[in-house]
Symmetry: C2
Subunit: 408 residues, 2 copies
Amino acid sequence: MLIVQKYGGTSVGTIERIKSVAERIKRNVDEGHSVVVVVSAMSGQTDGFIALAAEVTDTPDDREMDLMLSSGERVSAALTAMAIQSLGVKARSFTGRQVGIVTNMAHTRARIESVSADDLKTFLDEGYVAVVAGFQGVNEDMEVTTLGRGGSDLTAVAVAHAVGADVCEIYTDVDGVYTTDPNMVASARKLDKICYDEMLELASLGAKVLYSRSVEVAKNYNVPLVVRSSFNDNPGTLVVKEDDEMEKVAVSGVAYDRNQSKVTIHGVPDKPGLAAMLFQQVAEDNINVDMIVQNVSPDGKATDISFTVPNLESARALKVSEGFASEHGARDATLVEDIAKVSIVGVGMKSHSGVAAAMFKALAENKINIIMISTSEIKVSCVIDVKYTELAVRVLHDAFELEKEPSA
Amino acid sequence: MLIVQKYGGTSVGTIERIKSVAERIKRNVDEGHSVVVVVSAMSGQTDGFIALAAEVTDTPDDREMDLMLSSGERVSAALTAMAIQSLGVKARSFTGRQVGIVTNMAHTRARIESVSADDLKTFLDEGYVAVVAGFQGVNEDMEVTTLGRGGSDLTAVAVAHAVGADVCEIYTDVDGVYTTDPNMVASARKLDKICYDEMLELASLGAKVLYSRSVEVAKNYNVPLVVRSSFNDNPGTLVVKEDDEMEKVAVSGVAYDRNQSKVTIHGVPDKPGLAAMLFQQVAEDNINVDMIVQNVSPDGKATDISFTVPNLESARALKVSEGFASEHGARDATLVEDIAKVSIVGVGMKSHSGVAAAMFKALAENKINIIMISTSEIKVSCVIDVKYTELAVRVLHDAFELEKEPSA
């Protein structure tokens, strides 16, 4: 098999861990596999660079940041290659440029445009383990760019596609993807398999094992992912295209997100196009709106508009909303920060009816008031008071019997 | 003026110092100069990388070392560029590759083969300060290479030549080149000017302000160097081609080197070609022989051969010599480690007679026994007992009146 393995910052955080990564790779090579390794910077390194830049200036230049940030992965790639070599296995590091990862021009958050991997393939054919510095590429001016948070996952998936890997293993500090946060629900069960769309919903809902962008690319190119731990040999969770078996299960997991705030504009005059205007202003301010609810007023002359945003953007969202309120004759705008979003996710929902109703019922039976609701084909989300988050997650995990292995 | 300025690891060792470097550069730009900056890694960084590699393996791969080591200068270049930008001056970092520094294939000790600097010149013309990551280049396979110790000086000199700089300033933690070590002789005087050949002799004799390789390249391309401190505005020492004025002074400086050992092979049979054979074996073992003395034996049948080597190579030199002795019927080989070399250097020696004699006389008057002597056109060196080093340096500094400014 041709395997791409990505190791995060924690997995290469010390020389001891790098050596243990090298031993895992040697085992894979000894079993006859070809291996491409993608490494992140040693944990703490990237944040250290960001802190240094912050000491220099409040507004560090993105191009210079990229040159500095990309150094972290070069160091861990070199050390990992040395560690593999010291076990008697041929290995060779590759920078983003040397892999031929070409990105667009957006420094610090570049998008990969193409991956040639010609040299890398040549060395793979000659029996080398290729160790790729993650998180980086070059733009068409041959300037070093970086891919933003989760960038090394993206490197791994893109390289896996470019070399036609059989699987892309994402090594991290957890055993895989769980039915919900195991720290919150003791009976949370590790999933053996999950489909891209479910993983996307879980990732965007804050299950931090994988970033959405990497899952999207894996889905587009149909690259099978495995999320697993670098600290043990457990098999992890396979992320692949949905299949019939998956559809038999209505709900695969329960996710939650406590980093949400709700902005409400009260007494908005009931004029056509006003809501559109509001959300255009919000979008222009680069604020990510998640859910929107509009309550029709009893007299039909004014409405309340509520929407949720990430906590980090709530102050800006309130400011925009206050400006909008005074400009268009609405009463005022308020901010509620102590809310949370709980969600159930599962591709089986498409073919199972009554899933949303079962969720609402479970919450109601436990006196958890639902503030807002949004649904997609494979997800139902409810905004609730933040103090009920744990209760809601446990209740839903129980209600859908997620602790039980689905019958084959 | 077009100025290349090189800042060593101590000069960019903290964010505070990087900011002070940026302020100096801004002053130069405000005075109307074009500036290219070459930076070393922040002090401690390179040794930190070497220590990390040593934790991984006893025999780190040179190619991987270079990828790791070159990261240090990339980080300091990015931070320096940011610091300059934060003062409102346009600045831009360049890696070795981006400067077009092409080296030979020898990783960790590469030689520069060419410097194109095309992009760099374009940005200089547009009013940018170019900040170059020192110590690195790429070979013809586009692999990152490093230039060995003192490599950033070499980058500075090579870039100065490539862009046709008016001067190449080497910023360090001392005020310039002194008539001798100021820590040893209180009356040591900073030299205003010195010629390349004198600087070469002083550099190779252990005056650590500049590495020989950089001076050689500066001499070849006639690049004027200035050695000065990054911690004050003193003018430093100019290193240029020799001129008539310089030749008026017989001796410019006194140097010493305590890192020398003497190996003696006793009772070598007086056969032609034997000495040549010995030194070929020594050279094949990569041992750098400095001085050689052969004493003709009284009976003309056997001789003693002595040579000096750096302390670090003395054990290996003794081993080779012992092997040689037993193989060729010499009596034995011995090692003396407590020796030192003191030297007087000056281009004026070429036209002044009696300089060597004056040196021997000054040492003899102070009962300092001379063990070995070697001379070149512009240098006389004596090997003495290490315990007399300080005395010898002071005596010679006095004898040649180096504390006095030469009359114009």
